[in-house]
């Protein structure tokens, strides 16, 4: 049941997702508290990424994907309403993908692109400030300030991912979705992204899909465990990783799944 409580950045209920006849999400209800990090965990094929992609309508482009349910942004905006433009929604709900995917453009243009097309900056100076501020928040500015006109694909994997986070931040979203953002990164780059997630939570609500149990336990305050399209358990991360209520959750996080 979705209520009007605006302590949640996003509330979902009665969510069903089908790929053709195959059910991917089965009656899931999950709310995301503002300015907190929520991890979605579960084995491959459990539906966690499918669920994440529902939250900014990424599944719209998949013809056979049928999404049903209630999705409320800030307690009152139905994100699947015909009145909602997908582009407008994605201004509010940004996304960072598994593999860093910078545009084949300069570092500057990568970050400036979103604010430009969404008309966020009213002058070149303002745009410059947004780019600088976003790179700062993503912890990348000091590393790239002298080469803003270099092609972004020349950056290291970790830097590229932080650039993608800067790009997501630049359009001033309220929520950032992250789909295994560190799976292609080494431990140092992963640590930097996790540090960044800890800092970003002050201003954004973050929902992260991860296969790494230790990452979920390090970065999130809430954890949701999915299995076969069902939400098995949701709760405080500390509790999930010490004394989960469900045996299925215990089996998964301890590596006894099979």
């Amino acid at each position: 049941m979705v209520d009007q409580n605006s302590n949640y950045a996003l509330q979902t209920s009665e969510v069903y997702v089908h790929y053709g006849k195959k059910m991917a999400i089965n009656n899931v209800a999950l709310n995301f508290p503002k300015n907190e990090v929520t991890s979605l965990i579960g084995p491959s094929g459990c539906g966690k990424s499918t669920f994440l992609r529902c939250l900014n309508r990424m599944n719209d482009v998949i013809d056979i994907c049928n999404v049903k349910g209630k999705f409320l942004l800030n307690g009152n905006v139905d994100i699947y309403s015909p009145d909602i433009q997908v582009e407008t929604l994605r201004e509010k709900v940004g996304m960072v993908f598994q593999k860093p995917n910078p545009f084949p453009k300069t570092i500057y243009e990568n970050v400036a692109y979103g604010p430009k097309i969404h008309g966020i900056a009213s002058s070149q100076n303002e745009l410059d400030e947004i780019v600088k501020d976003s790179l700062h928040r993503a912890g990348l500015y000091e590393e790239v300030k002298d080469r803003m006109d270099d092609i972004a694909t020349g950056l290291s994997g970790g830097q590229q991912q932080r650039l993608c986070i800067a790009r997501a931040i630049a359009i001033r979203p309220e929520i950032i979705l992250m789909d295994e953002p560190c799976s292609a990164l080494d431990p140092i780059a992963t640590a930097k992204i996790e540090d960044l997630i800890n800092e970003l939570r002050e201003n954004y609500t973050i929902i992260i899909v991860t296969h790494s149990m230790s990452q979920a336990s390090r970065v999130s305050s809430k954890t949701a465990f999915f299995h076969l399209g069902n939400l098995v358990e949701y709760g405080e991360t500390g509790k999930i990783f010490t004394k989960p209520d469900k045996e299925q959750t215990n089996d998964y996080i301890t590596g006894r799944f099979g």
Partner: protein
């Protein structure tokens, strides 16, 4: 029945950890049994055996500690696995202390004169038998993951304490009455009784760890829980 781990190496180490605790429990139970018998037999070679067994206990405790450290470092256990490692470390410490008390009480028992009061000797021996039973049931509850049994064992400590206090007041009264056989032994019988009472306390601590291992919660155990 717990599902098998997908990481066989991790599974083996967890099993090895439990095996070490079983081994340690068996040695400590043996130590307690021998020490309690020494109260009556005053057999110095048995007392020496408790000393020898103590060295084995210390060795297994080190193994438990090292293996727990390795598991935590290499496998980052969570949930029930984490609780097992945590419990293993604490239970092994309690067992090690039980072993020390057994060794000490056996050493003191052989130094007490054979002419020492028979009734008091029987009381000490009975206290020891009660403690022995409590330890056995507590350890069984750990390995069988039996919360109900752990609670029953925990409750037995009240009876151990009652027997200990009764023995103590008897000893003190006879000292007041200047009964030579009691006065001559000084504090030795008191220290033996105290060692037995402390073993009971360590068993109580283990029972609490058993409940934590099973439930994930440290329960505020009160007598009223069992009434």
């Amino acid at each position: 029945m717990e599902t098998a781990h997908t990481d066989k190496n991790f599974e083996q180490k967890l099993n090895h950890l439990t095996d070490n605790l079983i081994k340690m429990s068996n040695i400590v139970e043996k130590q307690i049994e021998i020490a309690v018998n020494v109260i009556k037999s005053k057999d110095s070679s048995d007392a020496q055996t408790t000393q020898n067994l103590d060295e084995q206990v210390d060795e297994v405790e080190r193994d438990v500690r090292d293996l727990s450290f390795e598991i935590m470092t290499l496998h980052r256990p969570v949930a029930s696995d984490l609780r097992l490692v945590f419990t293993a470390l604490k239970v092994s410490k309690e067992l090690e202390r039980m072993g020390d008390h057994s060794r000490n009480l056996a050493k003191r028992a052989i130094s007490i004169s054979s002419s020492f009061d028979e009734d008091l000797t029987d009381q000490m021996h009975n206290l020891g038998k009660g403690v022995q039973k409590m330890v056995n049931q507590t350890l069984e509850s750990f390995f069988k993951k039996d919360e109900v049994q752990a609670r029953i064992s925990w409750n037995q400590d009240a009876e151990i304490d009652r027997q200990y206090k009764s023995l103590l007041s008897d000893l003190i009264e006879r000292m007041h009455n200047k009964e030579t056989s009691v006065v001559d032994e000084g504090t030795k019988p008191i220290l033996i009784a105290k060692s037995l009472e402390r073993i009971g306390d360590h068993a109580t601590n283990i029972a609490e760890e058993v409940i934590f291992n099973i439930t994930g919660h440290y329960i505020d155990l009160k007598k009223s829980d069992f009434e």
